[in-house]
């Protein structure tokens, strides 16, 4: 995976160099590109050797991996540094001083001698790594890196982290870690239910009949009551949908902040953040957090930590509450308004619009368009087991829009009639993939086959920095009992738990590649799917 990352990054730098067109001369560009490729090849060889080495040492696998990861990142980032430093990606903080000094030093040397030096440096690095792993130290990166990559490595250390979103339920060490963390925060651990399909055995699968509230005391003392209520509403599906979940989360946080009082000898900015951590773990146990919720939490944590220490408690609380209101207003309400104004331009009279499931934003757009006297009709596509399309259908018909309702199995039958497809999104990933309700990628695929334009509507606060190319690595498993249905008095799957070889799978999300999406409508305008990292960069610069 790191190999592809390095390649990807060097490719990206390659493309950025092409796009730059300004500073570096063509010669320099070509040389750096080749050098970049060489490095990665050599690095690949080295990595292969290291992997063989690793198989011998299973105990020190952790720190060694970390060491090699950091090394890989260090070397790849040094490859990055060779490109004009100004064009580096925002995610990698640009340490201009030391690497630039090393860059001219390395670039002036000829190709073959440079590779020798490189090999030497890498060998040294490997030896350091092994020494460090033998001593079992936790930060081999800082010691193992060679002189060249030392500076960037130490400065790039904060960027190199294990992604916390990667749930690994089938790894007992991770499960133990999680259990310990929850115990420390006094949050009960929710146990998994039923057999999982082996491809998804790394994800949690919970049953709605065993709520987390069974294990906490009534009345809830450790967790704020509004958070308990929210968790219950999440796990029972009463609050569902990306926007609704974020808004409900912010509402609950408002209650928490209102009821909060700083303990003596503590600062509000630090203590409140610590108070919120167990609540977030609790909500995560009830239902895995969505990308929009994650961004909202990051925002709140940032706001709380930015409160000056001399601010009085009442003032601070008021400020925080108004911050939350502003966030909802800007990112959700006004964004929806802006998006619907953009989208209405795309809806012409006589259109047949296909929507999937119940997306609050798409419903909002269609209702607005109908009020603005556009003539169109809607086809609502629905899928089991959630059957959210019924709710979308109800809302649209209530407004007076003409609707047709089909199940997703009739998609290719109905698509020849459709002129546009409007989809909502749960999150937009940094590589342009759209994460949405399971079935969305099918709709986009078939629409592409029929040359029907697919428009995704998404607010920018749902953009997330994660990168995912398939629906397996990170997803959510819903209650498998939802798939059980009783027809004509017979429930075939009633005793599915007793059949050892039968597994039920109830996926919630899937990812749609950007090739199938023609346009993303955000409040910043209509952008192509691949411009998501640009938006992320702009956002982080703003903040």
């Amino acid at each position: 995976m790191a190999d592809s990352e390095c390649k990807g990054e060097s490719n990206q730098t390659g493309s950025i160099i092409h796009a730059a067109d300004g500073d570096a001369k063509l010669k320099d560009i070509a040389r750096e590109k080749i050098e970049g490729k060489e490095l990665t090849k050599e690095e690949k060889q080295r990595l292969r050797k290291e992997k063989k080495h690793k198989k011998g040492k299973k105990e020190d696998k952790g720190p060694t991996e970390k060491g090699t990861d950091k090394e890989k990142k260090a070397v790849s980032s040094s490859a990055l540094q060779q490109s004009p430093a100004q064009k580096a990606l925002s995610t990698v903080p640009v340490p201009v001083g030391a690497p630039v000094a090393s860059v001219p030093e390395s670039s002036t040397v000829d190709k073959p001698s440079k590779s020798k030096a490189e090999l030497k440096a890498e060998r040294r690095a490997r030896q350091d790594a092994e020494r460090a792993s033998k001593q079992g130290k936790k930060e081999p990166g800082s010691q193992a890196s060679s002189s060249k990559s030392k500076a960037p490595a130490s400065e790039l250390q904060p960027v190199v982290k294990r992604l916390p979103e990667h749930i690994q339920v089938d790894d007992p060490a991770m499960v133990k870690k999680l259990a310990k963390k929850l115990e420390r925060q006094q949050i009960p651990l929710r146990s998994d239910y039923g057999f999982k399909v082996s491809l998804f055995s790394h994800l949690h699968q919970y049953s709605r009949k065993a709520p987390l509230t069974q294990q906490i005391s009534i009345p809830a003392t450790v967790i704020h009551p509004s958070i308990v209520r929210l968790g219950l509403q999440y796990s029972q599906g009463i609050v569902a949908g990306s926007n609704a979940r974020s808004v409900a989360l912010l509402h609950a946080f408002k209650q928490v902040i209102q009821d909060y009082s700083t303990p003596p000898n503590e600062e509000l900015s630090r203590d409140l953040v610590n108070k919120l951590k167990p609540y977030i773990s609790f909500l995560n146990q009830c239902r895995p957090l969505s990308a929009s919720m994650g961004n909202a939490i990051k925002y709140i944590k940032k706001e709380i930590s930015n409160i000056p220490s001399q601010c009085k408690e009442e003032e601070a609380k008021k400020k925080l509450l108004s911050c939350i209101d502003n966030y909802v207003n800007e990112k959700i309400t006004l964004a929806a308004k802006a998006i619907s104004e953009c989208a209405i331009k795309k809806i012409c009279d006589g259109d047949v619009i296909l929507v999937y499931g119940c997306s609050s934003l798409v419903n909002h757009i269609l209702c607005d368009a109908f009020e603005k006297q556009r003539k169109f009709r809607v086809i609502v596509v629905d899928s089991r087991p959630r059957l959210e399309g019924r709710e979308a259908l109800r809302r649209l018909v209530k407004r007076g829009i003409r609707c047709t309702y089909v199940l997703i199995s009739a998609l290719s039958y109905i698509l020849p009639e459709v002129s546009k497809v409007f989809l909502g999104a749960h999150a937009l990933l940094a590589n342009g993939y759209v994460m949405s309700r399971v079935g969305t990628s099918q709709i986009a695929l078939v629409a592409k086959a029929y040359n029907v334009p697919v428009l995704v509507c998404c607010e920018t606060y749902k953009f997330c920095e994660r990168v995912q190319t398939d629906s397996f690595v990170s997803n959510e498993l819903d209650d498998p009992d939802d798939l059980i249905v009783t027809r004509r008095g017979k429930t075939q799957l009633e005793a599915w738990l007793s059949i050892q070889s039968l597994r039920l799978l109830n996926l919630v999300y899937d990812v749609t590649p950007p090739d199938f999406v023609d346009l993303v409508i955000t409040e910043l305008g209509m952008i192509p799917c691949t411009s998501v990292p640009v938006v992320l960069r702009v956002k982080s610069v703003d903040q």
Binding site: I218, A220, T221, Q236, I238, A240, G241, H251, A392
Partner: protein, 424 residues
């Protein structure tokens, strides 16, 4: 704090006066523990650390870590809530002192939390009483009081089927367990409306009816009579209390959520109603309300199964030549002499049972003396009674501190004096 627990222990036990004329209802022994122990145990197991017990003066003798509130007799449950209004700071969980159950409390409270309900209550399947009730003359069980929830008792105007809820289940086999989760604004509402005096009799039916009423418009109240005005004021009061709770964000979240609690019609979740009442129906498990004599006897049979303790208290002195059945329980410091046979009975504390006594299917309370040769069947003997030798009691109820003369024979009788005799 999320919920405060209130145990209503001030009731006089009006439906079993024979037992309660001398002993307060909360202190009646069931399975050799005072009746109030059961709801307190339920609350403790659920995780409550503080309880408010509303009681009369007599109960103060008990040593408990609770806040006892003094009040005069003859208050309804709603009046009691009004009385302790100062102490109520959050939502309430009101339990009656005569509830014996092993329900998982989170099921009721989860309904209350998840749907933001005004009221959540517990109901269970009513059990048929299998034990013969002492003192009952004839087979007739008497006009049992039944609760009517959601339906008019007389049904004179016919059954109202609302268009919003076309499918109704009418059940006659449920028992209201008198365990209510109430929002704090209900207590404020009670304070404002002093005409409501009983929770179960008046408040709950009112709230249940209020779910379906549309919001009163201020303009239409013109020509109402005084009574109606008062009622509409009360309605308006509750409306105000509900609307003040709704935050803009909460409404936005509800709008954006793609969930609906029913399908098939064009209305939104909960039919747009903001006052919601939920009931959790216990299908399995034990739930008894010991408020009538029959229920009390039944509860005594069943309650010992709630806790696993040895049936014979370690401090009781039971002689080896006596026969104590496995389903009987003996209280502390009780003396059972030789050649006695005790079957399916509950014997209280400090009781003395002399030789050659046969006790079956009975409830003997504390401090009772039973002399030799007695035969007690299917009876309830209250505190401090003395059964002299050779007495034969079948299906009798002996009141507190009563003396049964020797060789007396009583079948199906209630033995008590009309004036209160002072006992401990």
């Amino acid at each position: 704090m999320e919920l405060q627990a209130v145990v209503m222990a001030a009731g006089g036990g009006s439906r079993m006066m024979d037992l309660t004329y001398n002993t307060a209802k909360p202190l009646l022994p069931v399975g050799n523990r005072p009746l109030i122990w059961y709801p307190l145990n339920l609350l403790e197991r659920a995780g409550f650390e503080e309880v408010i017990v509303v009681t009369t003066k007599d109960v103060q003798k008990m040593k408990m870590d609770v806040v006892c509130v003094q009040e005069d007799a003859d208050m309804g449950t709603a009046d009691a809530l009004r009385h302790i209004q100062q102490k109520i700071k959050t939502d309430l969980l009101v339990v009656s002192c005569d509830l014996i159950t092993d329900v998982a409390l989170h099921e009721v409270v989860d309904l209350f939390r998840a749907h933001n309900a005004m009221l959540a209550m517990l109901m269970s399947k009513a059990h048929e009483f299998t034990e013969t009730v002492p003192g009952q003359k004839g087979k007739k069980k008497g006009g049992e009081q039944r609760d009517f929830v959601g339906v008019d008792p007389d049904l004179e105007e016919g059954l109202v089927i609302r268009s919003t809820h076309p499918r109704m289940h009418i059940r006659t086999d449920l028992l209201d367990a008198h365990l209510y989760c109430l929002k704090k604004c209900v207590v404020d509402f009670l304070v404002a409306n002093k005409c409501i005096s009983s929770l179960r009799g008046e408040l709950v039916p009112y709230l249940v009816r209020k779910q379906f009423s549309k919001a009163t418009t201020p303009g239409s109240n013109g020509e109402h009579t005084d009574q109606n005005l008062k009622r509409s004021d009360a309605n308006a009061g509750l409306e105000l209390l509900i609307s003040s709770r709704d935050d803009g964000l909460l409404q936005l979240a509800e709008e954006r959520s793609c969930w609906n609690d029913h399908h098939g019609d064009m209305s939104e979740a909960y039919h747009g109603g903001r006052l919601r009442c939920y009931a959790h129906i216990m299908e399995k498990g034990m739930c008894y309300r010991a408020n009538t004599l029959a229920a009390y006897v039944e509860a005594n049979r069943v309650a010992p199964k709630l806790f696993d303790e040895s049936p014979v208290h370690p401090s009781a002195v039971v002689s080896e030549r006596s026969l104590v059945g496995g389903d009987s329980i003996i209280g502390p410091f009780t003396n059972i002499a030789d050649k006695t046979s005790i079957k399916r009975s509950n014997i209280g504390a400090y009781t003395v049972v002399k030789e050659k006594v046969k006790i079956s299917n009975s409830i003997i309370m504390n401090g009772v003396t039973i002399e030799e040769g007695c035969n007690i069947q299917g009876s309830v003997i209250c505190n401090g009674a003395v059964i002299s030798r050779g007495a034969d009691l079948k299906y009798c109820l002996v009141g507190s501190c009563q003396h049964i003369e020797p060789e007396g024979e009583f079948i199906n009788q209630l033995i008590k004096v009309s004036n209160h005799s002072v006992c401990f």
